[in-house]
Amino acid sequence: MARIGITDFAQDELGDIVYVELPHVGTELEASDDCAVVESVKTAVSIKSPLSGKVLEVNDNLDEEPELVNFEPYRAGWMFIMEMADPEEIEDLLTSEEYSDKYGTGV
């Protein structure tokens, strides 16, 4: 299983998040599918799924407290949990070090 969210760098770039729309439980996603939308500074931002799989659980707390994504992107601000269809897809994602090198910030 994989817990999906956005990075601290991404939340900082977005600014104050006022709305999070998550996929429905049971949705089958392909990697790079649009899976969620967040809104901040009057901007609706489409989020792509990093992996393929089935959505098992979503973080309903974000309905009432979307700002959790800003405050705790790696903890309380997680978005959804998915059952991975192909765990090898993780190899295509950036590691923490690669992300830091690319964006100049920690993960």
Binding site: G15, P23, H24, D34, V41, K42, T43, S46
Partner: protein, 262 residues
């Protein structure tokens, strides 16, 4: 950094007028077509064929006050923000890549990676809009970027960061949609009778080119773009699902489809 950035090329579509659902459909068609590599980056200015109300992506339509708007089109925008009442107004729309802001960012001493920040597009474009209005004799000022972004549900009731105010009220505000490294920007300008809209378009075109370092050439919508806009108008912006529930038709880009209980 700024010296080695290749100028971005934008197409400028002359002033048009359309109904709300088609206005939204054309704007999204421009973004999708750009993302699919068969359209250039585009700027356009349009008017509204009849009074309309648009509301932002996340807004519950039940919260939209349409009392006294019996003959008004009510449509959900693809962009964020609040409710906008379009009567005497013009809209500036742009679809392009965030990388096209790099030259502007470099000139303003901003690291290239910061161009992903949505607020920078407001700052860059709204400044040009304000300058164009000044050139036409409309006194105005840009709301400081340190101001809150929370304008409330009625977009024009409370100015927020980088909005334009004049004569004691908000006269220009904008919203965006971001998708895959590209943006769709929609800005709404309140105008009064006798406003020189053609002069505004020309000043906007010149100003964007000069301020953002873009090469801007005049053009028209292609046949494929018109067809995509007509499709989006039919299945999305003219549909109850999108406007009431915020759901796109199955298999199409947009909000995630309902797949079961949340």
């Amino acid at each position: 950094m700024p010296g080695d950035v290749v100028p971005s090329r934008y197409r400028f579509i002359p002033l048009t007028a359309g109904y709300a659902s088609m206005n939204m459909a054309v704007d999204e068609a421009l973004l999708l077509s750009y993302l699919n590599h068969f359209s250039p980056q585009t700027i356009r200015v349009y008017c509204w064929s009849r009074p309309s109300v648009t509301f932002g992506y996340r807004i519950d339509p039940a919260a939209v006050d349409t009392s006294g708007c019996a003959e008004t089109d009510v449509v959900r925008r693809p962009t964020g923000g609040g409710v906008v009442y379009h009567c005497e107004c013009a809209t500036v729309a742009m679809a392009g890549g965030v990388s096209s802001l790099e030259e502007w960012a470099g000139r303003n001493g901003l690291p290239r990676k910061r161009v992903n920040r949505s607020s920078l597009l407001y700052r860059a474009v709204n400044s040009v809009v304000g300058d164009a209005l000044s050139a036409l004799g409309v006194k105005n000022s840009l709301v400081p970027g340190s101001t809150s972004w929370n304008a409330g549900i009625d977009c024009f009731s409370n100015p927020c960061a980088y909005d334009i105010v004049g004569a004691g009220r908000k006269i220009y505000g904008a919203a965006q949609m971001r998708r895959g490294g590209a943006f769709l920007y929609q800005g709404n300008l309140l105008i009064e009778e006798g406003f020189d809209i053609d002069g505004f378009c020309e000043l906007l075109r010149e100003g964007l080119g000069a301020a953002l370092g873009w090469e801007i050439v005049e053009g028209e919508l292609s046949k494929e773009e018109k067809e995509e806009a007509q499709r989006l108008c039919r299945v999305k912006y003219g549909s109850g699902d999108w406007n009431r529930l915020g759901r796109s038709p199955p298999g199409r880009p947009g909000r995630p489809e309902a797949g079961g209980p949340r």
